[in-house]
Amino acid sequence: MPFREINSKMIEATVMPGQRLFSQRGAMLAYKGEVSFTPNMQGGQGGLMSMIGRRVADEATPLMTVEGSGTVLFGHGGHHIQVISLTGETLYVEADRLLAFDGTLEQGTMFMGSQGGVMGMVRGQMTGQGLFTTTLKGHGSVAVMAHGGVIEVPISPQRPVHVDPQAYVAHHGDVRNKLSSALGLRDLVGRGSGEAFQLELSGSGAVYVQASEEKL
């Protein structure tokens, strides 16, 4: 189910019978046709175990199921919206950045430590993202929110990308990430550059970066 971008802060989704999509609660702006919005207790797909998993991982964002036939406009909080199309790969994104996504996508939770070991966990703590992140896998579209516009930076094996942890939005592909710190004597005496921590992403894929260092 493709999302159509109406402008940088609003998307239109077409809902057809038999297809469903998930969206963040309260993010519907307007709709035409017969569409129902059901609060989703599990916070997404899967059964009770996935729900408990998400609760424990603090990735249980309030979601709702959108079903019926018609068109729905989504937007939230004046944030910019980036539509990402997935063709089989996995997208890693914080749950509270998810605006809407296809019901066909497979939703999961990932432990930061499994991507980058201890440093991954440190990274999660440092960037305020916690120890877990949400994964979406399969074929479909995802609408992701960001503060300020979003740019897509491709990652190739020869060219790792360094990103400010606060400006990081999401990434997909076969990417390893680690927190590289450039802490020096200057930081200890309060003369640091303010860029002591960077997220280093290497492998092949793409990372989405927002034009702001503000969290949602």
Binding site: I6, N7, S8, K9, M10, R25, G26, A27, M28, L29, A30, Y31, K32, S36, F37, T38, P39, N40, M41, P62, M64, L73, G75, H76, G77, G78, H79
Partner: protein
């Protein structure tokens, strides 16, 4: 300092500023040639030329106010700009747009309206918090993100609604499907599962245009003035048997209110 590759910052002077048009998405330029504009207090950010800003209620402006300002109770929020020159309007980095009305009517959320020509008449809408403009002329409105125009029939989140034109029938729509049945009852009893946040919309049908802003971040409400306490005036509190909302419990936008009671839960 460049804004985009290949273009430097644009420097304007009085001759290059546009006439009654947008300078960029966030700034609007009004040209005054002995004419007058109504504007909300504090929305002027700069001006060239010689202009006067007078609060409404001055004796001199009485005539103007009599013909085009019919919302006496919030007159203190508005000023009249007169003189000649160019004036820039902006509002908290929100998107600013101008709209032309030709013998038309348009109702807009009071916080979103920045300025209007005196050839338009401003009146309070029957819907609380909204203002109606009637006549021919130009007005300037702010919105969070660009304004999107939609045709009815449509249901709109209350917070995303900017205004509507020529639609005679804005009404409330409650989605009670989620409140009934076993799961709905469980939700209402335990509070678990929560509300989808989408059980209340404004519904528009008929011919017209509905204006949406692309986000749910509200502009600050402008006081639209209280309505006279008369029988038959909605919100006036004058009708017998009309209880109104419980005092001391202000209703938040998007809140369920006494919806549960209404469905007997």
């Amino acid at each position: 300092m460049t804004t985009y590759p290949g273009t430097g910052p644009v420097i304007h002077d009085p001759s290059t500023l546009p006439v009654d048009d947008n300078v960029n998405a966030y700034t609007f330029c009004v040209e005054l040639k002995g004419s007058e504009w109504f504007l909300q207090k504090g929305k002027m950010i700069a001006y060239y030329g010689s202009m006067e800003f007078n609060g409404i209620g001055h004796g001199r402006l009485d005539r103007l106010v009599r013909t085009s300002f019919h919302s006496p109770l919030h007159a203190s929020d508005w000023v009249v700009a007169s003189g000649s020159g160019k004036m820039l309007l902006a509002d908290r980095a929100f998107d600013v747009n101008s709209f032309d009305l030709e013998e038309g009517n348009l109702t807009i959320r009071s916080g979103n309206l920045l300025a209007f020509q005196p050839s338009l008449a401003l009146k309070q809408s029957i819907v609380p918090g909204f203002l109606t403009l009637i006549g021919t002329g130009k007005f300037v409105a702010a919105s969070n993100g660009p304004v999107v125009f939609m045709e009815p029939p449509i249901r709109v989140d209350p917070q995303a609604l900017v205004g509507w034109a020529d639609c005679p029938s804005p009404c409330h729509h409650y989605d009670h499907g989620y409140m009934t049945g076993l799961m709905g009852g469980l939700r209402a009893l335990t509070g678990m599962g929560g509300a989808s946040g989408e059980e209340h919309q404004f519904e528009f049908v008929g011919a017209g245009t509905v204006l949406l802003q692309s986000s749910e971040a509200l502009m600050a409400e402008q006081a639209a003035g209280a309505v006279p306490h008369e029988p038959g005036v909605p919100g006036g509190g004058g009708a017998p048997g009309h209880q109104g909302q419980q005092a001391g419990a202000p209703r938040l936008p998007g809140q369920l209110g006494d919806l549960q009671r209404r469905f007997g839960l």
